[in-house]
Assembly symmetry: C2
Homo-oligomer: 354 residues x 2
């Protein structure tokens, strides 16, 4: 006899909350005082989301906004993990009192908890340094949950005094692009000779680039990669939609944009040899110096605020509804949709009105 | 003088609805009767989302659930676009009365509307065939919007009599994995010699694979790729979490799973030469034959229903709130968050309570 199907149980959110956990307020206090183990536990709690996490985040919020946040995104094979490690090493060398956080987003492992290859490589060089904190993010399969969790973890690091925070994402997914866009500066990493399909991907992530990095610059074809990037920049495909976001914000009229918009500089690096990292960071600094003086900069802060609000609203509204409606009715509704007795649109409307 | 920043305006959702559009009911009727131009316009409306789209979708919902839906996902460079084209060609050749829909998700181009390279290549072979409908999806930057739009477009094609629907995604993003998981069968495409970082990605997408396809099987290293996949399957990393989803469903207890779980077969193909496609489709057919008899199959239907409900709920709740609160208050809230006068968690809670 075949076993009965596993029943669908309550949200992982509420399951997590029903466990006995140490009070989050105490954890926040210890993490803010510099205790690394508390920081790690606080980050796990924040990753899991839910009201408990929101209370921690609203406590620390006034202390956030100090860190420089740099997004580093690129297709697999561009060497961005090594690059992130080198940026961290250079930052620590140039300013030894500076704390550096690395948040590596592993979007492709929703279940395994993320054994990240690049992470292990980085760890070898950076793990001895207690002013560097490395965290790999993996998602639990919730739609949009990865973007929410990542920005929240960045806030925890920011509040805990991390001066420079590097967010590493594979530039090949919508949530990953959303994550990168919450950074102050987005470095898009390319590499010569990655083939046609990767070229097609470039067209998309170019639009969020503030600085373009051509890594593995000792490879054949580096000049043609640079030429191709210049050609795309000339076409004006880059940055065009960068200030548009989803449901809460409509696209700004492009004609309103200042004519002298930032053109992403193209920087060559060889990350495995540590070459070009200083040039790259100079370009990041120039970008920062540019946008703090521009209306773009103000718009960017509003964009980030809108993304944050929308992200939290989505989670808040859904978990409020799940709590009010209860597991039994949710399960009945799911059964009825699976049996095609009701369509999900009508069902969602009925639940939303209840 | 620098121009003022572009004001953040109302949701694109409501902007779209305020335009004069042809009545969606008429469009639905024409699309269902087989008119391709109406189908294209209906798909665009559904892609845009909003109440108008939901009314169309609840009308067509009783006609859905007939199509076979196959997800084809893989990293850039695996040749999955070519593979999807070949599957469509074979399906048309074997059953000339069968209609085939292709939904190509281009996750990396949130703004440009997606000029997909692979799409153009496929078009060359398939564009003369009026029983094949190809649609490229690009997102407008909304968190989670791509998954919602893609499953909705699949429903439209399903209702309009498309017997086989192929969803092509880059297997390197959370939304893209969510999309693939809504298919009846998920083919994960690999290729020899894509380098270390791509290997790391495999660990994640392997978990959603029902059938593994090693494309470009004429390349060096094909046997070591196959061996690596077998080793990963032996480790039991594959499919473990496949029946778990996000907020509405908790992970099932793995010990409850039947011991004779489906083991994804590994099929070699050379898509550019049309080789191995029949073997691949036989494996897909075996997977279908397996899971309709298993409790897994029933669980899968519930998983899909839960994903659909959650996706629609997220959109519904957010757009209801945006409509009730209004653009002025949303903009004020965004300004206050940007100025750090309020944190997004408290703001979201205040908005949700209003």
């Amino acid at each position: 006899l075949a076993p009965a199907p596993t029943p669908i149980t309550l949200s992982s959110l509420f399951v997590a909350n029903s466990r006995r956990l140490e009070p989050v307020a105490a954890l926040v206090e210890q993490a803010l005082s510099g205790d690394r183990r508390s920081l790690a536990r606080l980050i796990s709690r924040v990753e899991n989301g839910g009201p408990d996490s929101w209370s921690a985040l609203s406590t620390i919020y006034p202390r956030t906004g100090r860190a420089r946040v740099i997004g580093v995104t690129g297709a697999p094979g561009t060497g961005k993990s090594t690059l992130v490690g080198e940026i961290a090493k250079l930052a620590r060398k140039n300013q030894p009192d500076q704390k550096v956080g690395i948040v590596a987003v592993d979007p492709t492992s929703p279940f395994s908890g993320g054994a990240v290859l690049g992470d292990r490589i980085r760890m070898r060089d950076l793990s001895g340094d207690d002013q560097v904190y490395i965290r790999s993010m993996a998602t639990r399969g919730s739609l949009g949950g990865l973007a929410r969790a990542t920005t929240d973890v960045v806030k925890v690091l920011d509040a805990c005094g991390y001066d420079l925070i590097l967010i590493e994402t594979v530039g090949a997914g919508q949530s990953e692009i959303d994550i990168a866009r919450t950074a102050d500066t987005v470095i898009v990493v390319e590499a010569p000779g990655l083939g046609d399909e990767v070229q097609a991907i470039k067209a998309g992530i170019l639009e969020i680039a503030d600085v373009l990095c051509v890594n593995k610059a000792d490879r054949d074809g580096v000049q043609s990669t640079i030429n191709a990037l210049h050609a795309m920049l000339d076409l004006g495909t880059a940055s065009k939609g960068a200030l548009h976001h989803g449901v809460l914000m409509a696209a700004p009229d492009v004609s309103d944009q200042p004519a002298d918009r930032w053109r992403p500089p193209i920087i060559k690096t060889i990350a495995v040899e540590g070459k070009g990292i200083d040039d790259l960071m100079n370009a990041v600094e120039q970008h920062r110096a540019y946008w703090v003086t521009q209306p773009d900069g103000q718009q960017r802060a509003r964009l980030r605020a809108a993304i944050e609000l929308e992200t939290v609203l989505r989670e808040t509204l859904l978990s409020r509804l799940a709590a009010r409606v209860g597991a039994a009715q949710l399960n009945r509704t799911i059964d009825r949709i699976a049996a095609r007795e009701i369509d999900p649109y009508t069902a969602a409307n009925q639940l939303a009105q209840a």
